[in-house]
């Protein structure tokens, strides 16, 4: 039996020698994982395998929400051994998606897995004979039931994915979401691209709606590996941008939900309000989505005194218009009636699936990296997380509004206390020397939930493995479950209330 105190631990934005990571036999690895994840305040950040000379190295990172730590432990499976392991998902369902990924990429078979099948049909998958068109959907045989297939190309301007509904009349019994259409080989490209500037650009393009979330996590991971310290101001500016990204997307989502509830005034006004935020981001860095703002070691676009004034003015007018519109929207009986008690996820289900971010908080779970594993900016300016009680579409709709108000208050507090007096700043540095044989982890609470990047270097200080986790990886399962026993016409409002990433999942 392994004592949990002996498991190696680090904090957010720290690196550890590969040798110091607790290495366990699979039996112990299994037991420790189950012990840890059965506790309420722990959840899996990422679980992956990477190839070495003699086999596969499995790496588990578990976040402890009560003491700011991340537990790390590994297991080695030699090529000479039987490539079969007992599935953890049977006990800890939240790990199902990670085991499926390891199975797809390396061909390791997990016995008793609820359903071991490919995740994204990655270009470097173990079994190339299997094509994306061979995906094995769940089926129920009955003359009373019919199937509805939607996608990969959808009716709007959105990313591709396939949704397969099994319906009894108008009611959905089961929804299965098949992704992978967006797979661009991002993780491999992090190793193939040799300059850090290229990698920085790649991080910006992981998910174009989470540019700040992913890029900040990337630069933090690399800065930790290179032992490069950036100024406090740069760190705070990145957090400001992260909160602006949250406000912009949440506002757009509220507008999109209004569209689907046929409330056109709300749809138009919230869309206009989103424009105000992203146009400010363009004033800051030249790009409405914040591309080119976050750079390794510094930035070309400091948050100047002029921008500070512009942001405060913009937020004042934004807040006034937003509140006026929200006051009407959130009290409209037709909106409440449309969103209430639809697509409900119970706290128990949310925990089981390992949901993160908004998809956890909508169901009373206080999972928020800004609070549980804050980086410098959120240590200096603490954020109090908020949750909603019901886990339905209305809870997600309501939480978006409340988080916008919290983010605005947080930004105002920062601006009041931080000088931002000069327009001078640290410029980016791309020539970084990474420490050899290290593992670094960075996590950030982006608008969807926690983004986690984990990088491993080899003996020469080159990147050996780069693992990205977008919050959507956990949360797509919640959308599937939300659709159980609701009408198929409730799909759009459920989908928009989560607004999950296809490219962030497919990588």
């Amino acid at each position: 039996m392994i004592e949990l105190e002996n498991i190696s631990q680090i904090r957010n934005n720290q690196a550890i020698d590969l040798k110091q990571i607790t290495s366990l036999s699979y039996l112990d690895f299994f037991d420790v994982t189950v012990q840890l994840l059965e506790q309420k305040d722990n959840h899996c950040l990422t679980y992956f395998a990477y190839p070495t000379d003699k086999g596969l190295q499995f790496m588990m990172a578990i976040a402890q929400d009560k003491n700011y730590t991340i537990l790390l432990f590994s297991h080695f499976l030699a090529t000479t051994e039987n490539q079969v392991l007992k599935s953890l998902s049977e006990t800890i369902f939240a790990l199902s998606i990670f085991e499926r990924e390891i199975y797809e990429n390396y061909g390791v078979y997990f016995t008793n897995h609820p359903w071991l099948k490919p995740v994204r049909f990655a270009h470097n998958r173990a079994n190339k004979k299997l094509q994306i068109s061979d995906y094995p959907f769940y089926q129920i045989k009955s003359e009373e039931l019919h199937e509805v297939g939607v996608g990969p190309i959808h009716a709007g301007i959105i990313e591709p994915g396939h949704f397969r509904f099994i319906c009894n009349g108008e009611n959905v019994l089961h929804l299965e979401i098949q992704l992978g259409w967006q797979h661009r080989g991002v993780e491999q490209l992090f190793l193939d691209q040799k300059t850090n500037l290229q990698r920085n650009l790649l991080a910006e393009n992981i998910a174009g709606d989470t540019v700040i979330g992913h890029t900040t996590t990337f630069v933090q991971t690399m800065e930790v590996l290179a032992d490069k310290h950036v100024t406090e101001r740069i760190q705070i500016e990145r957090a400001l941008a992260l909160e602006l990204e949250r406000i912009a997307i949440h506002t757009g989502d509220i507008g999109a939900l209004c569209t689907d509830a046929a409330y056109h005034l709300g749809a138009n006004v919230f869309t206009i309000l989103r424009t105000a935020i992203i146009n400010f981001t363009q004033r800051w860095c030249g790009n409405r989505f914040g591309k080119s703002l976050v750079r390794l070691g510094g930035t070309y676009f400091p948050f100047t005194p002029a921008l500070k004034k512009e942001l405060l003015d913009m937020l004042a007018s934004f807040e006034k218009q937003f509140n006026e519109m929200a006051e009407l929207t959130y009290h409209l009986p037709s909106i409440q009636n449309r969103f209430d008690f639809v697509g409900t996820i119970t706290p128990k289900q949310a925990r089981l699936m390992g949901t993160v971010g908004l998809a956890a908080r909508m169901s009373t779970i206080e999972r928020d990296i800004r609070v549980t594993h804050p980086d410098f900016a959120y240590q200096k300016f603490p954020y109090q997380t908020i949750t909603a009680p019901n886990g339905d579409v209305y809870a997600r709709f309501l939480l978006k509004k409340k988080e916008i108000a919290k983010s605005i208050a947080w930004i105002r507090n920062v601006i009041e206390k931080e000088p931002f007096e000069t327009a001078e700043t640290e410029k980016p540095t791309y020539a970084l020397t990474l420490q050899p044989n290290k593992l670094a982890i960075s996590i950030n609470e982006a608008w969807r939930g926690e983004v986690c990047h984990c990088a491993i270097t080899d003996a020469k200080g080159e990147l050996k493995h780069y693992k990205i986790k977008d919050p959507s990886l956990h949360n797509w399962k919640a959308l599937e479950l939300s659709l159980r026993n609701v009408e198929i016409s409730d799909f759009p409002i459920n989908n928009k209330s989560y607004n999950l990433s296809y490219c962030g999942h497919d990588l």
Binding site: I157, L201, G208, T271, F289, S292, M325
Partner: protein, 247 residues
Amino acid sequence: MINELKVIYHNGKQYIPDLRKVKLRAPFRGRPEISTANVDEQALVDCCPLGAITSHPVRIDLGKCAFCGECAFAFPEKIKFTQDYKLASNKRENLIINEGETHPIILDKATIRKEIKKTFSKSLKLRQVSAGGDNSCENELGACGNTNFDMGRFGLEFVASPRHADGLLITGPLTENMAEPLQICYDAIPSPKIIILAGVDAISGGIFADSPALNRSFLDNHHIDLYIPGNPTHPLTIINGLLDLTR
């Protein structure tokens, strides 16, 4: 009712009256200009993360450019990004900016297929397909129809079914997994039909150009009617490009 009217009143006029003449301010990066100053050309070429810059003479290919601005920060005396957002062209070569050139990017009217103006000048309905797009170009395409940009006023619209569409607008670097759906969608659009590429990923693959997970053969087999650069491409760039193509 009174409260709804108040909201409308307080929000004021939100649409942009003339989408052809809007002025964007720095640091927005539009069409770059390359001066004739002498610089270390190899260093300039090397500083571009996407290989968009070539030397002798110095050129920038906007089909490969992510408008990150690194070159302008490293060589301010050589490269300057203007705020000109009219970047689209029907000819791939027109996206290449040469040293010393300061003229706007234009469409080659002579090579636009005749049926485009005849059939689509008053109404153009497009089916958008994201083939590995990162959702930023997709967001900007969505924004083209919002209250601010309102491209619907020109009869420009995105439609749900390829059967209702006059053309295909592609975003993203064209992934292997999307190759088949993309072809099926194109085949379902009735003729005459056009193809538009929006964003650096679609035009050249962008940062993903060397990825083995792509399949860009669709582009080899079809004529492209319009290239719209950007990362993502700005709504003004999109709308002006579409208007220049069809009117």
